[in-house]
Amino acid sequence: MYYAKYLYASAYAVATGTLQMEGVQGLSLMSVLPHALEPLIAWAKSNQTVVSEIYLRMTTAAVYHNSGRDREAVQHIDRAISLALPDRLFGLLAEYCRVMGLLIEERLCRVDEAAWQEVKRLHRIYDEGWAVLGGSVRGKRIVTTLSQKEREVAKLAAFGMSNAQIAEKLHMSLSVVKQAIRVTMEKSGMPRSEFAAIL
């Protein structure tokens, strides 16, 4: 049961673009996931739990899509769309636009273009939320790679202090402050103006 939950959690994370599966481990997990998800879909179908079936089909489609198997992915997307449309469950489709936006657009526009416009609108809202959340989660990961000095310097830089002001405040040389800023930019991949996102 624990392994099944782990597989579904991994699949969902891959499907919504919050987890990148790479390397040998990624390949082996990606090959296992569809086989683990198909029985769950059958269960949802037999129990007529529409929302569960949509989620499971879209997650399975995303896994197939990530593995380059778009033919299988499309089969699940089409079925999920047919389940979602009658009750306008567009939010469930919008969640997967991060990794399958083009596929969803193509399949949905064949059936109902107005529905695609709504899904696109919801996806934009979700994406803004993910940007805040993702930045916060990624920021927490970056912060652990910074030294205490770099964190202190970055914090003051995020407040808008100049290098000279930071040097004076922290009783450091200007050279050390500038180097710390540069190192933080390199570690985070972010410009100075966006340091607030990583702290």
Binding site: S175, K178, R182
Partner: protein
């Protein structure tokens, strides 16, 4: 975080036919006294001791105070933010500004 000793070799940076041996140390005495500051890689000061490549362009560092020909948005960010600056290796690069080029 791994701590480094003062005088320990950080790395040798090769660029444009030159080799720069960068060691750990303190830029100023206040850094040595500061508990937040461990020895850091001490990059060459190309303002005090200018060095040019074979074409006459000066070496510079990302963090170096930009010159009067700085072409960028944030001079506080050093030469790194200037469009004339070309990153080389690590934090050492080259200034490709024609105004700074040494004519021989």
């Amino acid at each position: 975080m791994q701590k480094h000793r003062e005088g320990e070799l950080y790395r040798v940076i090769a660029l444009e036919g030159q080799e720069f041996a960068v060691y750990y140390g303190y830029y100023e005495e206040c850094d040595r006294q500061n508990p937040l500051c461990d020895p850091v890689p001490l990059y060459p000061d190309f303002i005090k001791a200018p060095l040019y490549n074979g074409e006459g362009y000066p070496f510079a560092t990302d963090m170096q105070d930009p010159c009067r020909y700085f072409a960028g948005e944030d001079p506080d960010g050093g030469c790194y933010g200037c469009r004339h600056y070309r990153r080389g290796a690590d934090f050492i690069g080259l200034c490709r500004c024609e105004e700074n080029r040494r004519n021989e």
